[in-house]
């Protein structure tokens, strides 16, 4: 029986084969849900799905696309936004 603190469903179980042949369970925190576009709600590409401690160690350019509103809007919404500006 695992320790009481490890019995919660908020932990992810990773079944790992150990060199001895038996399987051990590694407990890890679940990943956050993927980032979404604030305009249309689509899943954003190019944004890693990691826990904050890993995101902190990543470079800025690895965390979002290198363009205005990168990481906030999807490219389609961003283009529409730019066209709106141009018309005004």
């Amino acid at each position: 029986m695992p320790a009481p603190r490890l019995r919660s469903r908020s932990l992810r179980k990773l079944f790992r084969k150990v060199p001895g042949g038996s399987t051990h369970i590694h407990y890890k925190r679940r990943k956050p849900k993927p980032a979404h576009c604030s305009g249309c709600g689509a899943v954003l590409k190019g944004i890693p799905r990691e826990r904050p401690y890993k995101m902190r160690s990543m470079a800025k350019t690895k965390k979002r696309p290198e363009r205005p509103y990168g990481g906030m809007l999807c490219s389609r919404c961003m283009r529409l936004e730019m066209i709106k500006r141009a018309i005004k």
Partner: protein
């Protein structure tokens, strides 16, 4: 809408939202831009044309474009060419320098090598002399121990068999 001198806004990519001028129409799909963006080839789909237009020659140099855009209040991206860093040239060494280098190397050799030579022979001499005496004695002992066994075992089994056959064949 897309012709030379037309001012456009870039929609896509890292230059999105920046204004530029079309300098050249390369293709059905591509145009040359200059202005707030870098001077670059660009797809027409990534560009939104505006109403403003400037009189500019085809393939106008960057200076003219920047002058024309300043009147409209649009800045230009000025890329400074990197200052040329001169690589340190490898100078030929004069014969005197080469001699001094060799002498220094020789000095280093003198520092390291002779010590080893001095240390080793002394150590060897002491040990060898001691060992030699011991080894010789041991060898003698071993020889005395081993030889009789071999003589007893081998000759009995091998020699007597061989000799008679050979003698018979020869005869």
């Amino acid at each position: 809408m897309i012709d030379i001198g037309r001012i456009v806004i870039k929609i896509a990519g890292r230059d999105a939202g920046k204004k530029a001028v079309i300098i050249d129409v390369l293709d059905n799909n591509y145009v040359l831009l200059d202005g707030e963006t870098r001077r670059r080839k660009c797809n027409i789909l990534h560009v939104e044309p505006l109403e403003q237009k400037i009189d500019i020659k085809k393939n106008a140099p960057h200076d003219e474009v920047s002058k024309a855009l300043k009147e409209l209040g649009i800045g230009t991206r000025e890329t400074k060419p990197k200052p040329k860093t001169q690589k340190p040239k490898a100078k030929r060494k004069t014969p005197e320098q080469i001699r001094s280098q060799k002498e220094e190397k020789k000095k280093l050799r003198d520092i390291f090598r002779p010590k080893k030579k001095e240390e080793k022979p002394e150590a060897k001499a002491v040990t060898l002399e001691e060992k030699a005496g011991l080894v010789e004695e041991k060898k003698d002992e071993h020889k005395h121990e081993h030889k009789p066994d071999k003589k007893e075992t081998k000759p009995k089994s091998e020699k007597p068999k061989k000799t008679p056959k050979n003698e018979e064949k020869k005869e």
